[in-house]
């Protein structure tokens, strides 16, 4: 019971940050969704140690664990789009699969290269340091 109360309270805090984020979005015309502004606010509060992590940890874990459940109602809305499962849909699905493959290859390959460059640079710095000593 203690745990449930704590989780509900912590989800309340996350709700609060979401509303503040949405409010700031409208007030300052920030081109980001209110929830992302809330995420950034929470990150700042945690980094500056204004909000201790154990104040939100359990509530956040519950929401993240059950994220697929939270997405069910929004996903059910696809029943209003029957055209997706016709001939045209097959082309769209092909586009998504193709684009995802290209994305995986370039993001994976690109970051692996950046990692190697970063490593080499570190080694060079180390070499130069040892030479100068």
């Amino acid at each position: 019971m203690m745990y449930t109360t704590k989780v509900i309270f912590q989800i309340g805090i996350l709700f609060g940050l979401f509303y503040i984020g949405s409010y700031l979005k409208d007030l300052l015309h920030i081109p980001l969704p209110g929830s992302i502004i809330g995420l950034l606010l929470l990150l700042i509060l945690l980094l500056l140690k204004i909000l201790p992590i154990h104040w939100v940890q359990d509530g956040a874990n519950v929401l993240i664990t059950f994220l697929p459940l939270l997405l069910v109602p929004a996903t059910v809305s696809v029943m209003n789009e029957p055209s997706l499962f016709s001939g045209k849909g097959v082309i769209l699905f092909g586009i998504i699969i193709g684009s995802t493959i290209v994305t995986m290859i370039s993001a994976g390959w690109g970051s692996q290269h950046l990692e190697r460059i970063a490593k080499k640079r570190k080694e060079n710095v180390r070499c130069n340091n040892s030479l100068s000593q």
Partner: protein, 230 residues
């Protein structure tokens, strides 16, 4: 009062169905048994049999839907916990995520234009590599159709989870950083759960790049639309 009762029934049905489907997935852990996919299909079937509309379902569905906002806020936590991993490999991670975002959005637009897909569909394709709760908001912000975007996001996730291991072998993507970023920036949460079959570092890199993709991607969508003059 009746409205309230309907809401309770819908919430209980959705939660119960999800918990059952989740058990099924844990037992067989086959990508196409993903609880979100199976639960959604089951609910659509039930609604069709009972001849109920989506709007009726949302009387109760809205209660669950309301939690998506705070759930996105909660994604700050894994990012905060992995800040050391992020800072130690800042250039490859941020660089890789940016590559993933640019390639993910632009390749979608270009392929769609090649096949003569209409504009509102292209706008729904753009956010497909971003985690669903954020992708929905990006889609409605740029004029796409959120319910189509959800399907595209799901498909992008499944594609990455199923083909990821093959792509890594064929294109010699061997480092945990490369693999994690490929999973996280192309296939968001579904890719991240597949990363659990690799090692600890791949999972945390994937989760970090998924969140970074969501943060950066939420403004990137607008930029791509402007770039292509849509």
């Amino acid at each position: 009062m009746q409205q309230f009762l309907v809401s309770i029934i819908i919430v209980v049905l959705t939660v119960g169905m999800y918990l059952g489907m989740n058990r099924l997935y844990l037992k067989y852990s086959f990508a196409f048994l993903l609880p979100l996919l199976t639960t959604t299909i089951a609910i659509i079937v039930i609604l069709s049999v009972l001849q109920l509309s989506y709007e009726t379902y949302m009387i109760g569905g809205e209660w669950i839907n309301q939690l998506l906002g705070p759930a996105v806020v909660a994604l700050a936590l894994p990012l905060y916990k992995q800040r050391k991993t992020l800072m130690s490999q800042l250039v490859p991670i941020v660089g890789g995520v940016l590559i993933g975002l640019v390639v993910g959005m632009i390749s979608g637009v270009l392929l769609a234009e090649v096949f003569g897909v209409s504009e509102n569909l292209i706008l729904s394709i753009i956010p497909k590599s971003i985690t669903t709760p954020v992708a929905i908001q990006v889609a409605s912000a740029i004029g796409g159709i959120p319910s189509l975007t959800i399907v595209f996001v799901l498909l992008a996730g499944l594609t990455g989870a199923v083909l990821g291991p093959l792509i890594f072998r064929w294109f010699r993507i061997t480092s945990p950083i490369g693999r994690g970023i490929a999973f996280g920036s192309a296939s968001h949460a579904i890719g991240t759960s597949k990363a659990k079959e690799f090692d600890e570092l791949t999972v945390s890199i994937s989760s970090v790049s998924m969140t970074l993709s969501a943060i950066l991607g939420s403004s990137f969508g607008t930029l791509v639309v402007w770039l292509f003059n849509m």
